[in-house]
């Protein structure tokens, strides 16, 4: 690990604010006020893809080769969830000491797909239930001297409960 720069030693708070907030992966999600996952949609059959598919449509009944970029639904319902209590191996970039985090599998109604994401920091998984509605937010994944790398995360709309709606 490189040590702090001279500016960081002198003005730690000020320099932290100056860190540029950048997506940890390019082209997978937006980071504005209403962040959304970026997928693609086949112009021939309408099937959604996340992560983006841009060469051949994977619907075996479709020969589509053209795709529109689309923002996926920002809200969905929890299909399942867990947490990670042990530090994963690289290429996960862990703070030191490791901080456990939750992960949810979320059903998007319009797209008919389930998308994984970390749960927003501070979400108590013991209060989560399948069927609960969650919303996409953007939060820190890791940082280096100049950048704060962010990623999409799921945050419950009603943190304290939610209906149990389980469909097979």
């Amino acid at each position: 690990m490189p040590g702090p720069t001279r500016a960081q030693r002198r003005y730690p708070g000020w320099v932290a604010q100056l860190k540029e907030r950048v997506p940890a992966v390019e082209g997978w999600f937006t980071i504005g006020d209403a962040p959304a996952l970026l997928g693609t949609r086949c112009t021939a059959c309408g099937t959604y893809f996340f992560p983006r598919e841009e060469s051949f449509c994977r619907n075996p009944g479709c020969r589509g080769r053209q795709f529109d970029e689309v923002e996926l639904s920002r809200r969905g319902r929890v299909w399942s969830f867990t947490d990670n209590r042990y530090q994963p191996p690289a290429p996960y970039v862990s703070p030191d000491p490791f901080v456990p985090y939750g992960i949810a599998a979320v059903e998007l109604e319009r797209e008919h797909m389930v998308v994984l994401g970390q749960l927003d920091a501070g979400v108590d998984t013991s209060a989560l239930r399948a069927g609960q509605e969650v919303e996409l937010v953007v939060g820190p994944l890791y940082e280096d001297d100049d950048h704060e790398y962010v990623v999409w995360k799921w945050r419950p709309l009603r943190p304290s409960g939610g209906e149990r709606e389980v469909q097979q």
Binding site: V25, N59, P60, T82, N84, R85, I103, V114, G131, V166
Partner: protein, 396 residues
Amino acid sequence: MTHEVAVLGVGMHPWGKWGKNFVEYGLVAAEAALDDAGVAWQDIQYVAGADTIRNGYPGFIAGATFAQALGWSGTRVGSCYAACASGAHAINMARAQILAGFCDVALVVGADTTPKGFFAPVGGERRDDPDWLRFHLLGATNPTYFALYARRRMEAYGATPRDFALVKVKNSRHGLANPNARYRKEVTVDEVLASPVVADPLHLLEICATSDGAAALVLSSLEYARARGASQPVRVAAVSTVTPMFPNTVIEMPNFATDSGAVAAAPERTFRDSIAHAALEEAGVGPEDLDVAEVYDLSTSLELDWYENIGLCKEGEAERLINDGDTALGGRIPVNPSGGLACFGEAIPAQAIAQVCELTWQLRGQAAGRQVEGAQVGLSINQGLFGHGSSVIVKR
């Protein structure tokens, strides 16, 4: 025309963390299988190697690696990688060679030397590889996915952590007498639930370890077996290596998302259901005909999923099976009499072959201390990363 081949010989190197080169394990298993079959290495006409991707170039061309190590004999070779399904796919390659008439007798070998701890993606920065990205962007380890399935059973069917723990308790008892098992110690429900939570709701003792080990088979045509005096050999009646149907609407390791079912209707069966269905259909048997099964218990709750995928019970009823003792030795349909991955840990390219070794011993009545009495039909099942089905049915 029969589509069956004979299992002439089986052999394994015990599972563990031995710290040796995978080739050495593979040779021990291969020689044991050759001895068991009574076939000399020079008589083998085809070698199918199940690859390992964590042991350098020799691992990517496992068939040739084992052939060279046994001594070049001019035999034909093939190597294949299908993640955790590699062993079954290698079995299928050998079977196809025999059934096509290209050879009479073949050797199948899988062996692995594994690193400690969580499986990490292979090295290098690969931003176009979902297996690399899921660690980088989500910190989603293999137990993360196992835990998502476990929690789903709790949410959908009311499963409890105790139900899951019972799977480990059963398998730990089954493996006690298995000389090839790495862990031979009985555990209790309390011990399972007192072990640290790795990914809620799964505890350390519910998630399989990674192991070194090797397994091998000698397969032949039924005519070849008969000519060698094996009139009633264990036979491979089916090998299922199916891929999913689009849209695959169940989230799967190492993916970020399922396929979208917005346009195409979901297939009649989930991927895991279809793996079993294809094998049962090919063998011409139903789940009720099975006497014994070896299933991939990467986690305790995944074993319960397999009960339903095979059709041993209806969806949501697997917890009742484990609680009633139906899948324990002496029960209606014993599952994982070997002790399963709970007692072995996973040696990726060897594991699906090891499942068939166990079923063969069971059908021959040679599974000392863990014998399913009178077993005539056995099924192994498993799934490899990136859409690899793996199921083998053997009959006596």
